[in-house]
């Protein structure tokens, strides 16, 4: 190992510790936001914390200010499973898209932080409304095609819930992306195995998800520990390296719904339920305040 490689790895390790600290703060934001309005979706938000922190603080090339809707020369991210807006808003605010104090307006009247993300209130960082499921992959493909037409050599990311894959439009998009070699697209599936009515495999089984995407013509990568920052960084860097090779890339990200809060983890019951006062205190005791609460 030469010196420069060593330096890179040291830096990487230091970054991981820093990113984990940010995750801790983001988890505090998530539970506080949903508690404050007694509504919202903490489960999936907590499960995708490492992924979104990794994207916005390491993986993606992006510039929060000045905010550019067109993402010229920048990577673009689409949250297709819009109900996990708490983690999205927290990560956007913490990475500089808007003031963290605005997180306290989540789901309140006259807020830019609507229950599900929207461009309607002009919140920086959001490029499309989402909430009605299954639409984000198509939108991501559109932006990926625009980037190709514009000779803009950046990447488009999208995130989807596993339950969301039950929507037919996803498979229209999956067929299109492979057939048209949309290879500047990385679509990640939050594979936590849970949806509102219970286990995904009981509600409507996804079958062999990897084989499905592969048979559609995608390059598929799996991150088996989706709540381990090192694993997420390694996996997403691998995904980035796989772009530009004629295939869209699907990352199957294995996460735990409710990760980081012991009484929420692994259950679909916290998909869309807010903690009460006692539960909030219990949750906050498990995640250290690292960046300052909003």
């Amino acid at each position: 190992m030469n010196n420069s490689t060593f330096a890179q790895i040291t830096l990487f390790m230091a970054d991981t510790a820093q990113l984990q600290k940010i995750c801790s703060q983001v988890r505090r934001d998530i539970v506080r936001m949903v508690h404050a309005v007694n509504s919202g979706h903490p489960g999936g938000s907590l499960g995708c914390t490492e992924f979104l922190v990794a994207l916005y603080f390491d993986i993606m090339k992006h510039q929060p200010k000045p905010w550019d809707m067109d993402a010229k020369g920048q990577d673009a991210f689409y949250l297709s499973n819009g109900h996990i807006s708490p983690v999205f808003y927290s990560v956007l605010a913490r990475s500089g898209y808007f003031d963290v104090a605005e997180l306290k307006t989540f789901r309140k009247l006259n807020s830019r932080l609507q229950g599900h993300p929207t461009t309607h209130e002009h919140l920086p960082g959001v490029r499309i409304a989402s909430g009605s499921l299954g639409q984000g992959m198509s939108v991501a493909i559109g932006t990926a095609l625009a980037k190709k037409m514009n000779k803009d050599n950046t990447i488009v990311y999208s995130l989807h819930g596993d339950g969301e894959l039950q929507e037919g439009q996803i498979w229209e998009a999956a067929m299109f992306a492979a057939g048209n070699k949309v290879d500047n697209l990385i679509s990640t599936i939050d594979y936590n195995g849970r949806q509102i009515d219970g286990d995904v495999d009981k509600v409507l089984p996804l079958g062999n998800l990897r084989a499905k995407f592969e048979s559609f013509g995608w390059k598929v990568l799996e991150i088996s520990k989706g709540n381990d920052m090192d694993a997420v960084l390694t996996g997403m860097n691998e995904a980035k390296a796989a772009t530009g090779k004629g295939q869209p890339i699907c990352v199957i990200l294995h996460t735990e719904m409710g990760a980081g809060i012991d009484f929420m983890v692994g259950s679909h019951k916290w998909h869309g339920v807010a903690p009460n006062n006692e539960q909030l205190a219990q949750a906050l005791a498990q995640q250290v305040e690292t960046e300052g609460d909003y």
Binding site: R127, I128, G142, L145, A146, K147, M149, E172, G179
Partner: protein
Amino acid sequence: MITMKKYTYTEKKDTRSGFGAGLSELGKKNPNVVALCADLTGSLKMDAFQKEFPERFIQVGIAEANMIGIAAGLTIGGKIPFTGTFANFSTGRVYDQIRQSVAYSGKNVKICASHAGLTLGEDGATHQILEDIGLMKMLPGMTVINPCDFNQTKAATMAIADHKGPVYLRFGRPTVPNFTPADQKFEIGKAVLLQEGSDISIFATGHLVWKAIEAAEQLAEKGISAEVINIHTIKPLDEEAILNSVAKTKCIVSAEEHQMNGGLGDSIAQLLSRNTPYPQEYVAVNDSFGESGTPDELMTKYGLDTVNIVEAAMKVFNRK
């Protein structure tokens, strides 16, 4: 004797070809214009654009929901996407995709829809959407346009590229008299006064505009002076043109190839009820699906012919 402006035409042409011609011309003018089609390139007359600008033409296959989403995504990066399929698959089939990814998201997508209404003909009711104007006009921020002939459709196609925001452009399959001057500028939301009159206002859109002109001529022979206004833009409605005309005539016939519920007539009635209500008769499909038949047979059976406009005009005139 009522003096009438004479309208003539040299040929009958389909409005969808006006769309195709406008799109090709736009392709030359505006490098940001991108066209998407869901396996109906020939029917939508998008083949010329496809041939000339293959790098800006996206064939999505039979996947209209995906097409709307891709179009929304293309706007991020500055493209002006024009989606093309039948009106039924452009609206009802993809309503939620349009609502969330286009209208609510405020994206600059042009939804271009052919084979609207009964005049699609023999394919029957599964394809003859008569609810699309209503569906689209209910969406906040959506502009809804239904031009009357080839020239106007061509001009409208080019005009909507310069309009920032989502647009629904509706046209059709049959050949109809092409009487709009080729150089007439298309102004979104600005009605076109075709015939001045003092006894009745006929507000028509799309394929019913020519029939309204014919009806006015027949009414003149009966000594009734009908004003004919082409409401090519259903939303935003040209309220001033309508109110000015009605202030003079004090009765209305609305004419459209659409359900009575949710169509142009509804928009006019709503406007008048908020201002000064006057008697109104509707030439529209009355809560019914269509069926197989030739376009002319269907327009006759479902009461969307020149004779129906004349009858409605006589009726409303007597209600004054």
